[in-house]
């Protein structure tokens, strides 16, 4: 089922949380809404679910206007940041809830209900915990149960609000890969909200970068990472060196270059290479971060190169090197985070 959002707007008092947003999510897509906290991404997601009502605009599911439909009739699966499991129900009852509240002929018979719940719990690898209470589970386990619960009623759309942000780093990574795998299996149209660019890059088919209630850019992870549309996107996705710069015409701008895009050499490789001095060297796993003082730049610039390449270079702090900054991208100076 496709999702379409047209001119959606929502204010809380004088604060515009979502400002005239247009968005399309294709059937079976896995889309990330990425942005800093307070940028309106969660409000946007909650409006799609019907948990928040928009001030203006339309929400369409499969081309059908569902803007004013109550939450329960929208039939979207929703996963909350803090799981929101029913604390007085067992894991089984939590997952069965959506089936138990069905009325009349929609309500599945007992055996079918049990089959479905057990199947879902097996899918999220929680079938061993049917009789446990939520309080007896870890965060990662709770979120798996919450996911099974959201999928129980076979929604056509799955919405996830920062699903992994309350978990510790290792579990987060594991659950993230597992969700990607699950999505590849069941192909449910999914939108998830995150402030973690790494999560968005790894998990999503498409990333929608949101800032201050508006969409800054949308595209595949490669598109938004390699070809950021503006300074905000460039800065928000991944590490970056920032410096103020004047372009060829002399207009003020902000320059960005990612550490791994900075080239280093003992000899001048290109005529445009600049001279610099190594200030500091730090090991970052398989990479080496090199801090440089470059002629014409006030602030130090960071370069990141592979450890082997660094060894081959054979330099130490204090050495002079040639720095390739050809990858610098300059934006007009009119943004803030």
């Amino acid at each position: 089922m496709s999702i379409e959002v047209k001119n959606l707007t929502k204010s809380f008092g004088a604060y515009k949380a979502v400002n005239d947003v247009n968005l399309k999510v294709g059937t079976g897509e896995l889309v990330a809404l990425l942005g800093p906290s307070g940028c309106g991404k969660t409000t946007l997601l909650r409006m799609i679910a019907g948990l928040e009502s928009p001030d203006a605009g339309q929400i369409l599911l499969n081309g059908e206007d569902v803007t004013s439909l109550p939450v329960r009739e929208k039939k979207v699966g929703f996963v909350f940041q803090h799981y929101a499991l029913f604390r007085r129900m067992t894991v089984f009852e939590n997952v069965a809830f959506g089936l138990r509240v069905l009325k009349g002929k929609d309500k599945p018979p007992k055996i079918q209900l049990e089959e479905r719940v057990n199947h879902l719990l097996k899918m999220v690898q929680m079938d061993w915990a049917v009789k446990r209470m939520p309080s007896q589970l870890s965060g990662g386990q709770r979120q798996r149960v919450a996911l099974a619960r959201a999928l129980a009623t076979e929604p056509k759309v799955l919405l996830l609000d920062e699903p992994f942000s309350a978990l510790d780093a290792k579990v987060r990574l594991e659950l993230r890969r597992w969700l990607r795998k699950l999505h590849d299996e069941i192909h449910i149209t999914s939108v998830f909200v995150t402030h973690d660019q790494e999560e968005a890059l790894e998990l999503a088919d498409r990333i929608v970068v949101v800032n201050k209630g508006v969409i800054e850019q949308q595209g595949t992870p490669e598109e938004v990472y390699d070809h950021p549309a503006n300074a905000f996107v460039h800065n928000f996705l991944g590490n970056v060196n920032v410096f103020h710069k004047r372009d060829h015409e002399g207009a003020a701008g902000v320059g960005f270059v990612r550490p791994h895009e900075v080239g280093l050499g003992r000899e001048r490789g290109k005529p445009t290479d600049l001279e610099g001095v190594i200030i500091d060297v730090r090991i970052r796993g398989p990479q080496v971060a090199v801090e440089l003082a470059v002629e014409g730049y006030e602030l130090p610039i960071e370069a990141e190169i592979a450890r082997d390449a660094f060894k081959a270079l054979g330099v130490v702090p204090g050495d002079r090197v040639f720095v390739d900054l050809a990858a610098v991208k300059v934006y007009a100076e009119d943004y803030s985070i």
């Binding site: 939450v71 929101a84 809830f97 138990r100 959201a150 129980a152 009623t153």
Partner: protein, 280 residues
């Protein structure tokens, strides 16, 4: 539990504090309670029993039970509604409403009773209008129920508001996204979550409803066998120098109070356990 030597109080301090506590309990709590039963039973079990079964006493017990039976469910309902409104919605004047909730605690019960007399007494316009329709409120059962309702109003809401605030509304939202209707959300999600807190509030409300004296005294009119609750009946017996009978009836109240305390203690442990998660 072990306390390290460095933080342990000297022996004489511990001894002094424990002694003060025990003596205080004995003097001000245990002795008066024992005295109530002792005084009531002074002239033998028969007199004790007669004081209980005398028609006026039975009528007082009946009226008290009737009042409680009306007041507790109503205040449970109001309390849940008020706590729900305050914790799940945001609206103008919410802070004012929360402070208003404490009004019955803040003002003297006598004044609470007077408010109803001034509002609904037979010489007021509203009272006259009701009287014209044959409805009597002051110096009659409805007045007693109203006064008790007013005085015990905050118990349930006060208990539920912090509880529901702490629980947030995510579970209700989750239930909605799973297709539950309003009533299903309440019965299946909200009510089980607040069950123990609600019962606890109801027990406190019940205890106060049975024992309320001031407000009820003002609106009752003290008509024997008709508008006397247990506390009023005790007061009348006492002022007639019928000491033994008054203490005999008082022992009913003490007995009810003891049951309340046991119930309250039991609910508290259930409540704690429920809050810590575990199965209920």
């Amino acid at each position: 539990m072990t306390v390290s030597r460095g933080t342990r109080d000297p022996a004489w301090v511990r001894f002094l504090l424990i002694t003060i506590t025990v003596v205080f309990f004995a003097l001000f709590l245990v002795m008066p309670l024992a005295l109530v039963f002792a005084e009531g039973l002074k002239k033998g079990v028969e007199v004790f029993w007669a004081a209980w079964t005398e028609p006026a006493a039975l009528a007082a017990v009946q009226l008290t039970l009737l009042t409680t039976a009306i007041v507790v469910p109503l205040n449970a309902l109001f309390g849940v509604a008020a706590a729900w409104a305050i914790t799940k919605f945001s609206f103008r004047g919410k802070a004012f409403l929360i402070s208003l909730l404490d009004l019955p605690f803040a003002i003297s019960p006598v004044i609470a009773g007077l408010i109803f007399v001034l509002l609904l007494g037979s010489r007021t316009p509203f009272g006259e209008w009701l009287g014209g329709m044959g409805i009597k409120i002051i110096f009659s059962t409805p007045g007693i129920v109203l006064a008790t309702l007013f005085v015990t109003f905050p118990f349930v809401a006060r208990e539920l508001i912090p509880l529901m605030q702490a629980q947030g509304r995510e579970e209700e939202e989750a239930a909605l996204t799973l297709g539950a209707r309003g009533w299903q959300v309440f019965w299946r999600v909200t009510l089980p979550n607040i069950k123990w807190g609600l019962l606890y509030g109801m027990v406190l409300c019940n205890a106060r409803a049975i024992g309320e004296f001031g407000a009820v005294s003002v609106v009752s009119g003290h008509i024997r066998g008709q508008t006397n609750t247990i506390p009023l009946h005790i007061e009348i017996l006492y002022s007639e120098y019928n000491i033994t009978a008054s203490f005999a009836v008082a022992s009913i109240l003490v007995f009810l109070a003891l049951i309340t305390i046991v119930l309250k203690a039991w609910l508290e442990t259930r409540f704690d356990r429920a809050e810590k998660g575990g199965g209920v």
